[in-house]
């Protein structure tokens, strides 16, 4: 979820200052059962919600992943790791993994540079830039379903806008394909993803750009650095923390993509746009192989978890020490 940005950044810097410092005055430690009861009273609602609706489902998925189960009736057909071995022998599922990777690579090499480019453009003195910013961010506010239906209509073979546009541009070979052809469906989906999400990354980059002190750029200018050199050697390094957060969110968003794909193609034609989340949904809710679908959930979870831990440990960690823009050196 992209909305976790502030969270991540905040969390990092809070960790940066070891919190085990002695309690400051005015931050009393609880003494006696009355104080403990008060602390518990404040903590319990969030804790219960979190345990029941966030953590417990993971446990349930791990558990049901070991069974062959149709979703109704007793859980009595324990199959061990059979669901998992089946998964990794399933060509379609391996394809799902590959498609996840495909979306990640395209997001990082196309979407984020495009968002950064737009942010740099809109960070200049420019008439109407507030309007442009608001406009470019607008698709992010729309629900995935509305976006997906809109682009389904645009890419409709024969009568959609995309076919007419391709005709005008002399790209007749694309007509009638888009979402309907296995070889074009993924790039087409990616275009829709860019439309929907680049404005969000642009906003992050803009916030990052604005926190770069103009004195630094002026100083570089006085030292004779050209526009490109200023960008390459001043702006880009100082934007590092923002870029690393953006990369993190892109990766997590790409591997759990569901809504857009489900509404536009449902994973088709012939699995060519299927993602892991789509496969999980298909098996869990359409084909009633709930045990197998749970195993897919668990694999998706493990991938997210391992990636998050590694990323936080080895990449975001750099932001803890002294990056100028993140305030991490505070």
């Amino acid at each position: 979820m992209p909305s976790s940005v502030p969270a991540l950044a905040k969390e990092r810097t809070e960790d940066a200052v070891p919190v085990r410092r002695p309690p400051a005055p005015g931050r009393p430690s609880p003494r006696g059962w009355r104080d403990w009861a008060a602390v518990a009273w404040f903590l319990v609602p969030a804790l219960v919600l979190f345990l029941v609706f966030v953590l417990a489902p993971i446990v349930v998925a791990v558990f049901t992943g070991f069974y062959k189960w149709g979703g109704i009736g007793p859980l009595d057909d324990f199959v061990g790791f059979a669901n998992y071995t089946r998964l990794f022998e399933d060509r379609v599922f391996l394809g799902d993994l590959g498609r996840g990777l495909y979306l990640i690579v395209l997001s990082l090499t196309v979407q984020l540079p495009f968002a950064l480019f737009t942010a740099v453009l809109l960070n200049q003195r420019l008439r109407g830039r507030a309007v442009y910013r608001m406009l470019f961010f607008a698709p992010y506010i729309l629900s995935e379903v509305v976006t997906a239906v809109l682009f389904t209509m645009i890419f409709l073979p024969g009568s959609g806008m995309a076919d007419h546009l391709a005709g005008l541009l002399g790209l007749e070979s694309l007509q009638g394909r888009w979402l309907a052809d296995p070889s074009t469906v993924m790039p087409t989906l990616f275009v829709v993803m860019v439309w929907k999400y680049f404005g969000f990354h642009m906003m992050l980059f803009l916030a990052g750009l604005q926190s770069i002190p103009s004195e630094i750029l002026e100083a570089a200018s006085l030292d004779g650095a050209g526009a490109w050199q200023r960008f390459r050697h001043v702006t880009l390094p100082l934007l590092g923390p923002t870029i690393r957060i953006s990369v993190f969110l892109s990766v997590i968003g790409s591997i759990q993509l569901f809504d857009l794909v489900w509404v536009m193609t449902a994973g088709g034609p012939n699995h060519s746009s299927e993602t892991m989340a789509i496969a999980m949904f298909q098996f869990g809710f359409k084909r009633y192989q709930v045990g197998y679908a749970s195993a897919i959930s668990v694999v998706l979870f493990m991938i997210s978890l391992v990636f998050s831990l590694f990323y936080q440990r080895y990449v975001l960690r750099r932001d803890l020490s002294g990056a100028v823009t993140s305030g991490g050196g505070r």
């Binding site: 502030p6 810097t13 029941v52 966030v54 417990a56 389904t152 709930v290």
Partner: protein, 276 residues
């Protein structure tokens, strides 16, 4: 020099206009197409309608189902925001202002929730909600949404609560103010901007959520707008102009909310990424 600057300005503007067209053309296409008949749309996808027919739009606006979905989405969004913010504010309060044993453990527990993709939880959540009897019940959507909103909300609010000086609390305690009163009468009113930001984030996330309402609500009377849009598309899949009119009308509340709450929304999303 001046000529160069003008040329540069022109090329800058033309690039921005190109990006703008990429964003805007699909939206404008939808709005204009809603005024056409499907027959005309197929033959004339770009031009203005020969005759601006408002029948698609008025037909949907006259349909009780559309308003029902809007009301459901609004109710669930408000309920979600309320539960998320209430539970988070309470937890963030003690996590920010009291040094008790295990505090960082609890805080860490909440923050790892950020790594859990919703898609992972949705199948077991469905099974659990079925056991609890919460299918076809608004709480079946509100409670999980609120739970998944907790990590981010707690982190933002804890950060904010920490900025309120200890002197404020000391003064309140001197005046005989207990924890509960301090929280309710002093801290929350002082935190109004932060509460506004997290509420806006919770409302937008809930309004757009599709996966969970799709599974939880079988009964059409609970359907939210994203589910309704998908159903409508399935039902009228050949009446393209009507489907486009429907999504245009479905966009209006979200865009209107964005226009009103833009500052909270972007502030909430972007501030943390840079300020930390």
């Amino acid at each position: 020099m001046n000529v160069r600057r003008t040329a540069r300005g022109l090329s800058l503007h033309s690039v921005i206009w190109l990006i703008g067209a990429f964003v805007v053309v699909p939206l404008v296409y939808a709005v204009i197409s809603g005024f056409k008949s499907t027959g005309e749309l197929t033959g004339n996808p770009f031009g203005l309608p020969e005759e601006w027919k408002i029948g698609n739009y008025t037909g949907i606006l006259g349909d009780g189902m559309f308003w029902r979905q809007i009301a459901n989405s609004a109710g669930i969004a408000i309920g979600t925001a309320f539960v998320t913010v209430a539970a988070s504010a309470m937890a963030a309060f003690v996590l920010a202002r009291y040094a008790f044993r295990g505090r960082e453990l609890f805080y860490g527990l909440f923050t790892i929730g950020l790594m859990f993709p919703f898609a992972v939880a949705v199948l077991p959540l469905f099974l659990m909600l079925r056991t609890f009897g919460l299918l076809d019940h608004p709480l079946g959507v509100i409670l999980p949404q609120a739970a998944f909103g907790l990590p981010m909300t707690i982190i933002i609010l804890r950060g904010f609560f920490r900025t309120i000086p200890a002197e404020v609390e000391e003064a309140a305690v001197m005046d005989g103010c207990g924890k509960f009163r301090f929280f309710w009468r002093i801290l929350l009113p002082m935190a109004r901007p932060a509460l506004g930001t997290v509420s806006v984030l919770a409302i937008v996330a809930s309004w757009n959520n599709f996966f969970l309402p799709l599974l939880v609500f079988n009964d059409p009377k609970w359907q939210t707008i994203p589910v309704g849009v998908q159903q409508f598309q399935g039902q009228y899949s050949t009446d393209y102009a009507l489907v486009l009119a429907y999504i245009v009308l479905a966009m209006v509340p979200a865009l209107a909310f964005y226009a009103v709450a833009e500052r909270q929304l972007i502030g909430g999303l972007a501030a943390g990424a840079t300020k930390g």
